[in-house]
Symmetry: D2
Subunit: 405 residues, 4 copies
């Protein structure tokens, strides 16, 4: 057992339930871990979540393809939603853990969503068992498809805001080897980057490889565009701002000896503000369109948005509120999460309701130096103490709204 601090003060009463459900939560975690399902195909996981929610007395509503929302009303008071995600990644696990998923599945909970889900079910059970310790309404929201950015949108588009009462705040958390000693924390403002993913098709004109003058060479065109796109970040943005333009894929042609008709490139952008994100993507389109025109393409290039993530900027008020509670309960364990260049679709859930939000990080390792990051086939949080810790962080996080001192 880890010797991290336990809940104290007006939250101390939850500790008995945490102890009582530990074994159950560990089994649940291992079951999720060994049954990874890809984004928007999480049927078994979704069903298992629903079973547990029913068991512990939540009213369950299906929202979207595999999303589930459990609601527990407990008298007068604020409404707080906590969101956990539950999809896995197309990665063959290589942790060697006794409870590893079968590498042959080529699917793995390499981003810790299994922990997020278990923690939320654990906190939900603690709240269900200790109605004496709080009042208000708690919404346990389980979101699929975070990795592809499709899940939150699917829930929002499927009537989340109509079906479920609007919360006063939406909270969430993510584990990873980012803060030493299982640290807990986050800043107000940008935490993740907004991402736009675009598939671009360049239409040249093919020819025999020995007659380039009869072609509009889309391979050279793509090369020019890729080099030109570099200047968006190198020259076009304030050096103090974070901005990324990545061409992740380029595909065109079969034979060394034939100029192909078209080339496809896939581009993603990252920024902390909608304004900069829009500028990056506007620049991409201007460059692509302009180079196609210079090249003399008969047909305009096409742009298809194939994925993305919203601006993610923690609201100031709930940040202050939750961080004060964290400071009180976790003391020195509170750390600085910083900003990530990666993305998260959590804000889409909060924005469906028009509710303020705060999202924090929980360290998954005692020493983070050299630890494999999320999305590594070797990613592995320390079951003890993270299983309990992430349950506690939810209880502390919701406490300013639901629990009187």
């Amino acid at each position: 057992m880890s010797d991290l601090p336990i809940l104290t003060g007006h939250l101390a009463g939850f500790e008995d339930t945490i102890a009582a459900t530990r074994e159950k939560r560990e089994e649940l975690y291992k079951w999720f871990h060994q049954h990874p399902e890809l984004s928007m195909e999480e049927y078994a996981t979704s069903q298992r979540i629903e079973e547990v929610l029913n068991e512990i007395g939540f009213t369950v509503t299906a929202v979207g393809k595999t999303g589930k929302v459990g609601v527990l009303e407990n008298g007068e008071g604020p409404v707080v939603a906590f969101r956990a995600d539950f999809d896995a990644l197309p990665i063959a696990e290589d942790t060697g853990l006794e409870y590893s998923a079968d590498p042959a599945l080529n699917k793995m909970h390499a981003c810790g969503h299994d922990m997020h889900t278990t923690a939320l079910l654990g906190a939900a059970e603690a709240l269900a068992k200790h109605k004496d310790l709080w009042s208000g309404t708690f919404i346990a929201l389980f979101q699929p498809g975070e990795e592809t950015g499709a899940g939150a949108q699917d829930m929002a588009d499927s009537g989340l805001a109509d079906k479920i009462v609007k919360p006063d705040v939406v909270l969430g958390q993510h584990i990873g080897p980012w803060i030493d000693n299982y640290g807990v924390g986050a800043l107000a403002g940008p935490v993740f980057a907004t991402c736009v993913q675009t598939k671009i098709t360049l239409y040249g004109r093919g020819s025999h490889g020995s007659m380039p003058h009869l072609s509009v060479d889309p391979v050279v065109l793509a090369a020019k565009i890729i080099m030109s796109l570099q200047t968006i970040v190198s020259r076009g943005i304030n050096p103090q701002d974070m901005g990324v333009v990545t061409v992740g894929a380029v595909h065109g042609g079969d034979s060394p000896n034939t100029v192909p008709d078209s080339v496809e490139i896939k581009v993603s952008t990252r920024a902390y503000t909608q304004e900069l994100s829009d500028k990056l993507n506007k620049d991409i389109r201007r460059i692509v369109r302009g180079e196609c025109e210079i090249a003399g393409c008969d047909r305009e290039p096409t742009f298809e948005i194939v994925g993305g993530a919203p601006v993610f900027s923690n609201h100031q008020a709930p940040t202050n509120t939750v961080m004060a509670a964290f400071n009180e309960q976790f003391g020195d364990q509170v750390g600085d999460f910083g900003r990530l260049c990666g993305s998260e679709d959590f804000p889409t859930i909060a924005e469906a309701w028009g509710a303020p939000y705060f999202y924090w990080a929980v360290g998954s390792k005692q020493n983070i130096a050299g630890e494999p990051y999320n999305h590594s086939p070797k990613f592995a949080p320390d079951l003890d103490p993270v299983l309990d810790l992430t349950t506690r962080t939810i209880l502390v996080g919701v406490s300013p709204w639901l629990m009187s001192r």
Copy 2:
């Protein structure tokens, strides 16, 4: 019937056979046309060729996968080889001809090899039926796989020079809409370009798309290389020389959001001399290796030769000899073929024996303006008169060696 000139003088005696075999040759041509087979898979075509050769009294030797060589000895005298190719292309025919190949086959004799083969079988039969008009040895060589550059090499590697007597000269011809009014002709020196086809793999280092600094981005590397390769032709070769560097394919990455580990590019070069071809390919390798080193690739790029064609330069002596015979027989019909940037593996056959060679062109149309070129789904030679003409050109071409005046 076309009113093109027929054979006269000491070759006039062949005209009766040409007339007598016309119907047979037309049937044969249509059969070949309707049974197109891709390079190195020409089993039915090869068998049909062998049947005809046996029928008309040639000794047939299989050389390589589908190559066939028919030999007819006729007393003392020089040995002359004539080569015809017989593979088709992966193109769906769109000529609308009554004898069109089924477009559903997605295979087509769009380069006229069916005509080359029919003409050689026709000339072989004329020689077999008129042993009185010539003396020496005639080799009718049928080569597969010209389109991929694999066929001549396969025959050379399969012991052509050991199995078949060395000829004093090797001749060949190609039809196409290049010279008006079914013109006949060629120059000494370069006619086709030598081609080298290389598959190059660039090994970068992948990363999440939001963390480019952890990557060695092979997409940007490929773009730099492709732009840099343009300078080989624009700055590196004598502007008077023909040289081409084409990047026909570029492939790397799946997701817009992930820097891939590697990118593959396929490059082909064209030149009229071995020296320039070597320079182009040396330059390519220097640029690719240099850019990979600058980029900090952990692993060197790999280069795999995946195809090509030899230097093709008609020898002066047989050019003079055959062109004199053409001038005598065809008069005003003799035209200027020029040089093509395309390639042909015919020299590989001649070089297997170490024999001199000459290769000429025959116009496939009366007016060539606007005619679809070889490799077009609409390519279509005029059956009359090209069927007879290409038979006559072979007889005239071999006449300086085999037929006394």
Copy 3:
């Protein structure tokens, strides 16, 4: 008269001197403003500074070409150095101010160094007149050549540390329209960027413009390098880090019709850490050398450092100390200066002694929106209240060391 707060508490005693010297300081400021001198040619300015220092009782030491250091000992106690710069820029003033420098001079105090110098002379006089209010040693350091980065280095190289007693802390300030309402402040850590300026010569091989194959074309080489340098920032640095690579100049060739022998490019880099600055410059050299090798240059490129600025990162302890004093004296006027991408050679002075340093900003305007920045021909601080304010900020800044409460 501005209604900004005046000095209070244990510093209130200096206010009489501030009032008494106002007219003198204004005359001094206007004299400096109307006598702008370019970097390392500030002979008249340097002499005027020396005269004033002598007048008010400082011991003056010349350090380097035009640098002057005044020292005032006043019993036991800490030693504090304050640095002001005094060179002007090659800009024709366009402020239309009654005390504008003659635009025909094409020289202007467009960066506010005239104010820095006047403020330091004013604070020095206040300290000289009120020896009763403090004890210790005050060093008034006047540095030339800040704009070119040559001045601090010149003083350091000319024995500053040997000639002048080592201070416990080195302080400095800069005015500009950066913080509203004449705000005062700065953060610990990076404030300005380190800058490295390099002149690079690429040696190709010239030729007649019609014979590119006989050349190694340095124009195309320079273009490749410039495009390649873009990837240092777009792909090579952490998107969260500030890094800049600017090619500010490119020169080569005379005639449209001749490939020149060489091209010269001038590059500058910016970063907040020495490590990143080193990486940027290492990348530049690797790319330049690599491209020259690929191009086949007979002679290696040359790199000449032609300017630069050090890492500028306010030390934590003096930042805390001074900011506490600012908060006490200036209250709501304390603001956030942020980080600039520009550079400053102030740290070179502190590092000559190995002393900790803190450098703050003072707002030059009430409302900064739309205000012309430093280096604009229209740059103009509000004489009232900035003349007094910048004198007060020095007194407050040195107070934690020199003035007992």
Copy 4:
């Protein structure tokens, strides 16, 4: 004395004059050689030419700044013009010849125009002394400013066609180490390339080097354009065609640390046809304009034609006529001149009248291997036999028109 063949048959009668004027021509040649004058400043040379023409009985007309045209009428018959050029180059002679120009002049007849002029004066004198041997009219045209392309245009613009009777043919010649053994010859069709020289200014928007996002960086823009221009030749022209795009100069910016406002590039093109030349220049403008638009330049780029040369394609009829005369008189000495990528403004003279033209080459050395080319500071034709030979080639060249057999 060289043992090259002398004139025979109906031209044999000129040999006495050639022998008689040899010493005079040598002196004249050495005087021209030692008095080199730059293009359009050939005042002394022009005057000397006029003196000689007057001496030998030609009617002299000044045409343009320094051009001179001598006319000699000799009864009925065709009119033939022969053009010689007489400007020198800004090169310091390094031949070490006894009659070298003073290297300190930094001017040199490094292209052989001194020989061209001497030969024409020699031939003119031969014609003047042997009116018995020919009939018709001979025009000896001396053109300045060939090296800059300004001279022929100046004569055309100054009324050449109005002032001087229209010839039936215009002839010219050039010496150089191009054909072994003092060979004489040329082909019909393209001999020199047409050249267009353009100065292009790119207008970006300057900024401090640390704030690239406030700039439109014309240095990066110029680099993109230069790289893009490479694709005109590498992809845009038939690989069989000669085409050159050279960026001979690029200039922009002063400081490493400032993004400049503009960059100037100077481009030249070469081609053998007007059509291809027009395409190259149209492509350049499309690329430059397109890239400026993509970059967001506030102001359009400007294009200024700063020089050039016309299409130079020997007319078929006079080529056949003169080459037949060369073959008769010079036999084995007739060689193949090939095509040059360089340029000549000779056609502008012929086109001023609308007359057909032929221009040939004369070898300046016995063995050309390793010989310094024209425009080298070591360029040196063999005085003997080139002085006589180039006089004879003119007499032979004009003979089909002026001398009955």
